[in-house]
Amino acid sequence: MITIKNLSASVEGTRLLNNISMELESGRILGIIGPSGNGKTTILMCLCGLLPFESGSITIDGQTLLAKESKTISETLWAFRKKSGIVFQHLHLFPHLTVLSNIIEAPIQVSRKTRTEAEREAMLLLEKLGIDQYRNKFPEELSGGEQQRVAILRALAMNPRVLMLDEPTSALDPIRSGDVRQLLQEFAAEGHTVVIVSHSVRFLKGFVDHLAFMGKSELIEINTTKELLEHPKDERTREYLRFSELS
């Protein structure tokens, strides 16, 4: 369960999140839509403890991060970061490590798992997505879609409570395929939370069960996917949806 209370954050002096509050139950997949530059990525960065915020608080699965704690390196921040995992828009795999090493690096370094154990778990994940034959390849040898799967597995290997994906459709071979979708849905069904930021309403439709629309630095509305798409309450949401259907 994610609880965001009165969250405000700025990047380089520009207010990108303004007093945002929302709640999301475990086991849900949330999609965040809205025009670019309106704070969609910023909210992800705050949710995984990478961006210090000015005020408010975020609670994931009982672990709360206050504004002042987000600014300094502390045990709370480390504990909070372990609750979430993120897949960046440009993936940022570790180019000097093989596929397998990309996935097992954090479990070994952070969770202190043995190499054998970490490899066994990683191989299960790789097999699930049918890319176990790439385990000893380096990221640059893989296609965009394959790289994306590795990035997702790298985050999942740390078993976070929340998994966030930033613009997953911009990968060359985006997660359209059923096995990745299935993996994310399974992950949510196990009681985790998935948050996906995307500008593509078409992609999110029929995949996420909640949708949030972000206007200028604000959360305009959040609802079940069906409700938000069929009966948007706010004029700005309606306008955006009309516009995105045209494109």
Partner: protein, 496 residues
Amino acid sequence: MNFNPRPATKKLLILLVLLVCDALVAGAVPRLRWGADPSGGAPYVFSDPSHPESYTGFDHEFAEALARQMGMNAEFMPTDWESIVASLQRKEFDVIINGFEPTEDRAREVLFSKPYYLFQLQLTVRKGESRIRSIEDCKRLGIAVGTLVNCSSSRMLDAGGYQSVGYQDPVGAYKDLEIGRINAVVMDVAAEMFYARKNSSLRQAGKPFNTGAYVVGIRKEDKALLTRVNAAIDSLANNGTTEKIFRKWDLWNEEQLTLRTERPVKYEVTSAMFNWSEGLIKLSKAAGVTVLLAFGAMVIAVVLGVPLALGQSNGNRLVSSLCTVYIEFFRGTPVLVQLLFLYFGLPVVGITLPGWLTAIVGLGLNYAAYESQVYRTAFQSVPSRQWHVAYSLGMRPVQAFRRIIFPQAFRIALPPMTNDFVALFKDTSTAFAIAVWELATAYRELANATQSYLGIGVVVCCYYLAMSLPLAHLAHRLEQRLQRKSAGILSSGSDK
């Protein structure tokens, strides 16, 4: 337009005519071009302190008198002492008049005139030194003796099996003696009188010894010139001109009177026969010193470069600007000047390091500035998102740096670091300036002593290549390995 010279043009014409006349007159009186090294050359030949544009010294006065006696105009050609014989051979001048001693090895290259002065050697130590009373004491106690390179005293030390340190000029030798880098200096009395006797912290050890002679050096083929020079030396000795000159410089003694007689005068001729096996041992030792300098300096550079790079890009304003000042200072001034500064400057504030250590520290400080920039560029070219990813996976800063950022930066930094190391290898040759016996110094000394610039030169280059090629090869292989690793050519399972 008709030609109508204006006053300015007229003046120019007159000047031109005068210049031509001058040249003709000068051409009429033959010139005696004589070579000597005026740097640290007192009291032989040196810049006149009261007229820095002109030279003075007993050899200067003697050369003037000699030329006049021969009906010629003396023309002084400043040169470098260490390679003075080679310069004579290249006809940069016609005679050497520079406290030049006859030695067996030089006899193969040049003709010697009759002696015009008999000199002795003097051993000098610090005031408080009680162990050393004679040059034999130095040998017995294994004390290295400082002296001028390429002169009779250096040959005497080599032949006698003494440990020696070669200096380019007397100033450096006595300075190092004074501050304790060396414990004894042996030098011609003339130089000792001028540079050491008035120094209250030094004293003479024992009496002057080992009588030798100063002669005029002439090219082998100039036999006629030799006859004329010898005749002139005799005349100057007999008409009292030589006495007048050396009395003026307080170097006259009764022994010089023997030079007036027709009988050949007895003096010692030192020899330095080049022995290839001994020479190779010397060169190998020097190569060892070069390796020590390069590795020592690189360790300092690689380690010190890290705080410099971090300080410059992540420190607060004060730290950052201090690092920038450091980097710009060491990159913007010649490493040779920095070495001299450390060698002669540090003792002023009470820090006296031996030459080799000064070279390691100096080169290390210098290259640290370059390494810091290599690191900075390397770390900047690792995307900041790599940090974010590592943090999002729960890694601590140290873990993220060690496992994720450093390996990537290292790949980028390796090629320029290799380049720097090879450059550093070659830059160790600047240590010759502070009397470190490394490979380039060894080459200069051995080649000058034997006139075998080509043979020894080839050997020295082989030494350098034997050291730098494996290094370059190693670096190349490491680079390839890293690249291959990122390209994934390594077979499966090798990552375990």
